[in-house]
Symmetry: C2
Subunit: 386 residues, 2 copies
């Protein structure tokens, strides 16, 4: 018995100075419960996606969800972590709880509160998602800077393409009231080094990096035999996870190898090709990642992703709009929340409830959520089943 997504919640992504981790969790959870039209007592199990690693003192946060309602007391609650893919990890574990017959109705929350620390502190916390033995002291912008440099060396300078990806995602975010950054940026601004757009880790500039953001997103899933009781229901045509070696030294970093395998397996499970997708939310933690994901998903051959940007294929109105939500780049990237947010956005798309972000007639939505430097890979293909 597979799971159906029947409700969702999503806080605004941004800087939530006066809102605690607990409040973010409970806000998103309450909204998901409300949109699903269920009662807290209906929930059999809770899964939390949270990376943390010192960004907040709460290292054991799953049970914070129970504080929302007295009827949640004694409900099993479990935290799942796969770095920046922790949200998808929680969804997949929750889906398994339903498929295993362990639960009929589950609540999934993804959350991150990043702005309690300064940028240096956040950067250090995120750096915990790399292979400490060989990569200690290297920040994630530096890791993706190295990846970009290697890609540029092999396939030529892609700085303009990266700038255009940033522009696209900022433009898309203007339609998403929950996005962290709602400010149009010009190609010229993104493509030039300036005081306001410094080089962060060559060749990546500030505008090539996603944001340090607070936020939470939540989903309610039920067993498929219950879907008839709900206004709308979203099913998994595919949900594939693959992990790669943690050390970068063991991988060819000029492509996202495990991502490529993950997409291929997801297409096969769903019985589709990339041409069948109507919309995709993918993991643009850095603009170079979005470019390389185009290739991993089979939209372009390896090294040729730039052509898609030049022709507008992945823009609103293009053949496959990517990151209509604004992506991690402009929607923001509260790491534990990101995977859940992607699944919320994709679900809203396929049931026609994505508001200003809606892609007309979207039937198949693809989610690709990644942890670390291409290490944890999750690809979901979602469709409305009601």
């Amino acid at each position: 018995m597979d799971a159906r997504i029947v409700g969702w919640g999503h806080t605004r992504f941004g800087v939530h100075d006066s809102t605690s981790l607990e409040t973010l969790i409970q806000k998103a959870a309450a909204e998901a419960i409300e949109t699903a039209g269920i009662a807290p007592a209906d929930i059999d199990a809770i899964w939390l996606g949270h990376y943390n690693n010192g960004m907040v003192p709460d290292a054991f946060a799953a049970s914070l969800v129970l504080g929302l309602d007295d009827d949640l007391r004694f409900t099993p609650a479990t935290r799942v972590e796969n770095a920046c893919a922790s949200g998808s990890a929680a969804i997949y574990a929750a889906r398994n709880a339903i498929r295993a017959g362990d639960a009929r109705c589950v609540l999934v929350v993804g959350v991150e509160k990043m702005t309690e620390l300064d940028t240096r502190g956040v950067t250090e916390a995120l750096a915990g998602a790399s292979y400490s033995t060989e990569e200690a002291g290297v920040s994630f912008p530096q890791i993706f800077g190295r990846i970009a440099a290697g890609y540029f060396e092999k396939y030529g300078d892609q700085s303009e393409t990266l700038a255009r990806i940033a522009v696209k995602n900022h433009q898309n975010a203007l339609r998403n009231p929950l996005a962290h950054m709602q400010r149009e940026v010009s190609f010229e601004f993104c493509n030039e080094i300036s005081n306001k757009n410094p080089m962060i880790a060559a060749p990546l500039r500030l505008t090539d990096c996603s944001l340090i953001t607070d936020g939470a997103a939540a989903l309610v899933m039920v067993s498929e035999d219950m879907a008839a009781d709900f206004d709308c229901a979203v099913g998994f045509r595919a949900a594939v996870q693959m992990n790669d070696y943690l050390p970068m030294s063991r991988r060819d970093m000029t492509e996202l190898t495990a991502a490529r395998h993950t997409f291929a397996a997801a297409y096969e499970a769903a019985g589709v090709t990339v041409d069948d997708l109507d919309v995709a939310e993918v993991h643009d933690c850095f603009t170079i990642a979005e470019l390389m994901i185009y290739e991993a998903m089979g939209l372009a051959e390896t090294g040729k992703g730039a052509g898609l940007v030049a022709t507008g294929t992945t823009m609103r109105g293009g053949r496959l709009p990517v990151n209509l939500s604004g992506g991690l780049k402009a929607k923001g990237h509260p790491v534990g929340a990101t995977g859940v947010s992607m699944h919320v956005l994709a679900s809203q798309q396929v049931v026609g409830r994505a508001g200003g972000v809606q892609q007309e007639g979207a039937e198949l939505a693809c989610v690709f959520n990644m942890g670390g430097s291409g290490v944890a890979n999750y690809c979901s293909i979602l469709e409305a089943v009601k």
Copy 2:
């Protein structure tokens, strides 16, 4: 299709100065693969129980398992956390992956490397498993000290009973070559405050506290239809998880309420009573916890657990030997490994392979693993099915 435990690995618990987290993980995993008699290529999914919270720099450790063998590349690997019950959380998620039809063969590893930090650093990392809003700055010894003080106030001073529990678990550990502490301690030593046995958090003395320990444990589980191919197989008569509110202020801390409910649900699922159990590994993070767990599991009425100690009920040779492994008290408590270690020990008992720790004729083994101050609760009842 339920899961069967068919292989296990367990490093020695102790201080592993020159052994990294990665090596601990891979040692336990390799041994589990070997005892199961499978090949790494047979493994469909990997689950890691790891609490961490700054004890090591590796905040994204699930994929470290893949480093063991080239055939593990691209295998999904996910970390699960429920504080000191992270090991059981990983087992339950892995079991669901099999029951969900997502995997036929899974590897579970629980690990903690605690001794890279000094005692103060470890104490701070562990304190992250409490409700920061109200309990910040309170260490876990202090939390269980308060719990013990409240229990003593209601039911009378139990210091002698706690000392006897420590003596019992140290005695048991003498038979367990993998235990951290293999030293007999006398009742007089445990029951008296001294330079070597100072008060840590009144009324708890040093000998009432479990150990800061490094270690890893691992399990291989397969789908029940594959069990015929293995030398022995252990099944779950019950596997119940319940969580309670994180804030202690919302709970009556003179009993382990959620633990009581968890045991009751596990007995019901298994169709047994406490009298049917042959052996139990329970969460003695502090001696007061073991005493209160006796009551939660229905061995004694609330407030009357001391009687069991006086009569030797839970000693080797008693009606229900508890923590024949030495328990967290003497075997050691590498927090993410503990739940997996308990399931390994319980599995070995029911298939008659527990070596010097063996309880003759053990058929039903109970595991109770707890996260935080009675917040995350996992009760498994295991039996040999082959």
